[in-house]
Point group: C2
Chain length 251, copies 2
DNA sequence: GTCAATACTTTGTCATGACAAACTCCAGGA
DNA sequence: TCCTGGAGTTTGTCATGACAAAGTATTGAC
């Protein structure tokens, strides 16, 4: 007898008048129950068939809801056994958010200084990163990002001009990704390279570090769902103040 | 008239005697066609209904195959429009592989020197990383990894002893993840932190770098599908020779 | 008592059918 | 000419039904 709290997942109900898909309603409700600990780690949830019947939805719908949570690393399914909770919070596959969003979320009072903002034809390196023809006009941005009053990162970006017009005011007040999203542009896929190197004297000065201090470097290209390149970025971060956290999940 | 090469995706056929699921057969076949360029970037693939009918499978099966490729970033679907190729190769969500595997794949002739191998009770830091009780016995490993004859990384790992027994010979000849997989242990979920710092003099010496050279640091905990912690690692890489590449995809 | 065969449970795969929602395109009217 | 409305296309969601495969538990033979 594997002692688990099975059964009684109580008030999971669906609203058929809502425009929110049923499978998503079920997934969200289950996720809440797990995050609140009402279904503890290691506990088995009801089997698909019973759960479907109790909720008054079909088994494929229930299955899809569970699958959604399995992909996020909360649940594990085993044929012949059942579905178990393995982790109480969502392990997001990987955040595709901007530094600014992360800092706001972490309550670290970000501030942005726009050092440069101009339109120029893309040089080869950038055109290559964006997968566009060399010479394509892009907005070139250099920004200094502060957190909690201290400089944190020196950021360089190129955005094709037909993607989004940008102003100093916008960039000073908001993160780049926030501006993209606000214009209906959602980054979906990105390739990143993360490395490290010593600061040049110019970088050390602007970031308030010693010469040769270690910096984290990150270059990224981001595309939207339609495969259009939205952004190329080449950034350096003070390694003493910043690191990347990633949650990976692999099939 | 959006000029695209539509139609004629020719010989996609399924084998119902195979134990490989039909949806996976279809997905694999489509992926091949796209990777080979027989369906070019920007081209629309056949709509689900027709494709299903032509292959003699049901629409849900076809849908699942397409969904599989959508999640990998090759295809994009739009309601009322169709399904388009946006990228000719799979953008894997993120590789959960070991350095050794990567080096082998990159033909960089890896070699491993085992500096230390012992069983010890987990100190707090490691127990915390593995999410086990402090004092739980773990195998502690220190390895120096070479690529192309040069030192590349200094690697520290802790593996709970009930996960896997390890020998110097195994570790010298194989990557840790390969050893795990060989024993039926598949890392599924991991959390990583990537940062940078300057080399200590001991690290500089062993890695053949100058003092204060920049190093990339990575700490990782990996779990299997059952939520069991398999491995905790804390590694330093020569930033002059190594960087992390990530492909992200976010919903 | 131990071990192997059997029954049962639970998830995995697949088919068929139906309607809804988002988008494109064309025709018709202002 | 512009733009509005509707028809057509294509993906999104959901239901029902069926069988297969992989575990677990039970039963029965030795």
């Amino acid at each position: 007898m594997t002692s688990e709290l099975q059964g009684r997942v109580r008030p999971v109900e669906v609203d058929r008048t809502s425009p929110v898909p049923l499978y998503f309603q079920v997934a969200t409700r289950l996720q809440e129950l797990i995050e609140k600990g009402e279904i503890g780690v290691g506990a088995r949830i009801e089997n698909e068939v019973d759960l479907a019947e109790r909720l008054g939805v079909s088994r494929p719908t229930t299955r899809r809801a569970i699958q959604y949570l399995v992909e996020r690393g909360m649940l594990v399914r085993k044929r012949g056994v059942g579905t178990q909770v393995v982790h109480p919070k969502v392990r997001r596959p990987v955040e595709l958010s901007s530094l600014y969003d992360d800092l706001v979320a972490g309550d670290r009072a970000p501030r942005t200084e726009v050092l440069r903002l101009e339109v120029m034809p893309a040089p080869d390196l950038i055109a290559n990163g964006l997968e566009v023809a060399p010479g394509t006009p892009v907005t070139w941005i250099e920004r200094l990002r502060y957190a909690a009053g201290e400089p944190l990162a020196l950021m360089h970006n190129a955005i094709p001009i037909d993607v989004l017009p940008l102003t100093r005011e916008d960039l000073a007040a908001h993160g780049l990704y926030e501006l993209l999203r606000r214009n209906g542009l959602t980054p979906r896929i990105a390739t990143q390279v993360i490395g490290a190197r010593s600061a040049t004297s110019a970088e050390a000065k602007i970031l308030d570090e010693k010469r040769n201090a270690s910096l984290l470097t990150m270059t990224r290209t981001a595309w939207d769902a339609g495969g259009r390149a939205l952004e190329y970025g080449s950034h350096v971060y003070r390694a003493s103040r910043y690191s990347f956290e990633l949650n990976l999940s692999a099939g």
